[in-house]
């Protein structure tokens, strides 16, 4: 489905981003991905399912192991959405940059 909402929801979780960043270096087995993480393999398995459902990773069975890799096609729509949003934001910002006289700015 390559849903943007699902992709963003999946990326919002720190542990899942950690898994993806490990996978960006190359395919790994589920066990290798779980190593060193402060959570159980069970949690990792569930996170991988979320990433897979979001179209961000794909997996292939090899014996009793399961090798995961990043699915580039899942990231595509997200990148496209962010790019469109980015240019809209810049356009809106540029259009209003003149009239923002000198009112008090608030930024955290």
């Amino acid at each position: 489905m390559t849903n943007i909402s699902a992709a963003l929801l999946a990326l919002a979780e720190p542990t899942r981003r950690q898994l993806l960043e490990r996978l960006a270096a190359g395919p790994r087995t589920a066990g290798a991905l779980a190593e060193g993480l402060p959570v159980t393999r069970s949690a990792v398995s569930q996170h991988l399912k979320v990433l897979k459902d979001a179209g961000l990773v794909a997996d292939r069975a090899e014996g009793t192991r399961r090798i995961y890799r990043i699915d580039p096609q899942g990231l595509g729509p997200l990148r496209a959405w962010l790019d469109r949003f980015w240019s809209d934001a810049l356009a809106s910002y540029a259009a209003e940059v003149d009239r923002t006289a000198d009112s008090k700015e608030t930024r955290k």
Copy 2:
């Protein structure tokens, strides 16, 4: 801080994305942003706070109103992160595309 984690967490919420997409068309007051949404102004106010803390929007006070606009600098780091991630994924994918002989693929 322009934290990537905070930005992704903020973007993961549908209502917040809706607010951002309205703001991409131009600055709006908090009240105008709340109009038509199926949640109370209170909820909108809280969402705007999250977006502001994530560096995705900025606001300026004008009388009793508060005018929000998109903060392009907040989106920058997120875009950079996604781009780096994207190219890493492509490189990893290209490097492994040869040896994926004909094992059974699984995709949901």
